[in-house]
Symmetry: none
Subunit: 208 residues, 4 copies
């Protein structure tokens, strides 16, 4: 984006620039602490100390501890979610579900995620940010697969994409947050065995 010639006038704001060092130190410290000690040991003071940073600096840039956790979470989560088009919609979905489960089961990430969702329940600002910055992207990726499948005739033409996404992702979050049942490797297949027929076009050979 920022092409080399684009900064001809590029008059940066005056004053000491924000310290990138501090920013990353905070995010790293947050992730490390979440991994090692869990959410309980995550006070702003502790993050600040561990990051070698002042508490005020944290509050300058994040309104809330949860906001820090979210950025930390996204920082090491966002980039790693490739969704290749395998040709088979069912396989595409299987891979997506599998990657979500992998994410949930990763020590640090799972805890962060759970913490963020828990916090969201009494922090509307965080809730919105979480939805816009994490959930929306996930749904969009799933939507692409589903729409593509529908266009290809693999999925039923009257498929309600949003409901379908609820049906595919909902069970995962339900296990993570509510029932506490484990999400194993084979769960994607079990789930799709039960659900895919409902999504597939009637004449699909693998519909059932």
């Amino acid at each position: 984006m920022a092409g080399p010639a684009s900064r001809k006038s590029e008059s940066r704001a005056p004053g000491r620039p924000r310290s990138e060092r501090a920013r990353t130190a905070i995010l790293i410290a947050t992730n490390e602490l979440l991994d090692s000690r869990g959410l309980a040991a995550l006070s702003v003071d502790v993050i600040a100390t561990r990051a070698g940073v002042s508490k005020a600096t944290i509050y300058r840039w994040w309104p809330t501890k949860a906001a820090v956790v979210m950025d930390a979470f996204l920082a090491h989560t966002s980039p790693r979610m490739p969704f290749p088009d395998t040709g088979s919609t069912r396989e595409d979905l299987r891979r997506q579900i599998k990657s979500v489960i992998r994410l949930f089961n990763q020590a640090g990430t799972g805890r962060s995620l759970v913490a963020l969702i828990a916090e969201s329940q009494h922090d509307p600002v965080l809730a919105q940010a979480f939805r816009e910055r994490f959930i929306a992207a996930r749904r969009e990726a799933a939507r692409e697969v589903l729409v593509r499948g529908r266009e290809r005739g693999e999925l039923r033409p009257d498929l309600d994409v949003d409901i379908a996404i609820d049906a595919l992702y909902g069970p995962l979050y339900y296990r993570l947050l509510v029932s506490g049942d484990p999400l194993r490797q084979r769960y994607p297949d079990q789930l799709l065995d039960q659900l895919y027929p409902a999504l597939a076009a009637v004449d699909q050979p693998d519909a059932r």
Copy 2:
């Protein structure tokens, strides 16, 4: 522990008996506060004040604020969940889903529920209690319907009941906790339109 006939004539322990008045006042106050102010304003101090009760009395009977919330939640939730057998499995499911949505959308209950789940994320004891005292009952009710349907031949013989429950309930909790999308009256039908075919026996007339 509790010998069966050991205290038939109920020789009460000595000392002043537990005040029923205090107990109900606490549960009512908790529900009222959740209704009116939400989870944020729910400190033990505030509950105690509102209930006209000492903080110590609360801690004498509940280990945790969340435990109080759970009892308060169950106190006005438990009794109202009848699941009649309508003859049609799909209709039975529709009614169950509908009643869950009604519960979620009720001001006080929805918030309590959300609060309990949020708290459960960092309180394993609460999590277990919540699952045993609320979730398990729900799943059991749903299981009955599904097993009955399978036995009747309305549902596919290889139906995995647990996965099916995940698929039916998961989306509801997902909307409540994660996506924040509203759960409207017609959602049960929308959901079943998408999912029921996957559950139904292949020769069922209403499978699709």
Copy 3:
């Protein structure tokens, strides 16, 4: 003293009584810290730690760090100010002045006093308390001596007592707070040598 019938069995206020242990620990810690480290090292946190007390306990009973300092100051200052009637007004005054100087020069007390006066300059509540609880008592003691002297005919009949007190005490505070000049043992005599004639009745032998 307290009400005529003194209220039967003296029913105390409900609730856990204030901890005398905590109260004294706080005052002692405050005085010790003032003595040893001076006003600079006197944060509420430090007092709390040293006293083995919670910060909240301090704030429960004192609105301000300075208020604590005042109580600590009065706690070990108040009781020790006897002003015997020596028969000679000049001698009475000399002793009073001497005792004030001794107070000023005592490590802990002097520093407390200075701190209190400094704080008073931007804390009207403290200022009033300081005047009522410390200054007023001093002035009253001095007033007694002066009025007695005037009645005895040792002091001029048209003596303005308030101005006289200003003239006797003012120089001491002036040295303490403003000029920084030392207040030595002989200062009371030097001061009275200069001032007493102005106060004395014209025919007094020691007027000049």
Copy 4:
């Protein structure tokens, strides 16, 4: 700005501020803030903002907020203290005392003064500066009057000038800082009525 040879030989100080504009802006802002809002609203940040100046610029030239206040104070105080020789020592003293009281009662100046003295109590550097740059000058002026009076035979030959100054100024600072009693127009006369006889030569007609 200032022409190179414009003032005498003008040996340029090494640390001289480039911007005279900044320096005066700071002093003016400080005085204005003291006048309008009092000492409480006087943070270095606020001064900097109001003066349109960087905080760093203030710290470059003054070690301490109090040092700024002192310069600001002197900047509009120093020049206005004329002490004419009226021929009568008592009248000279009366005028001096009156001018001090006027200074104390002036909104901005009084507050500055009080602030400086309060700050001096825990800042020895400031204390010394204050004494050297303000107090010493005052005492010197008073000393001149007293010495002149003694030489003229108006004052007692064994007058201890330093003690006398304490006795004349002390009460004023005492009222300002300690007792809080008001310093009215007639106070100089009241004070001198009580004190002057002690200073005057025995045969002076106005000694009593």
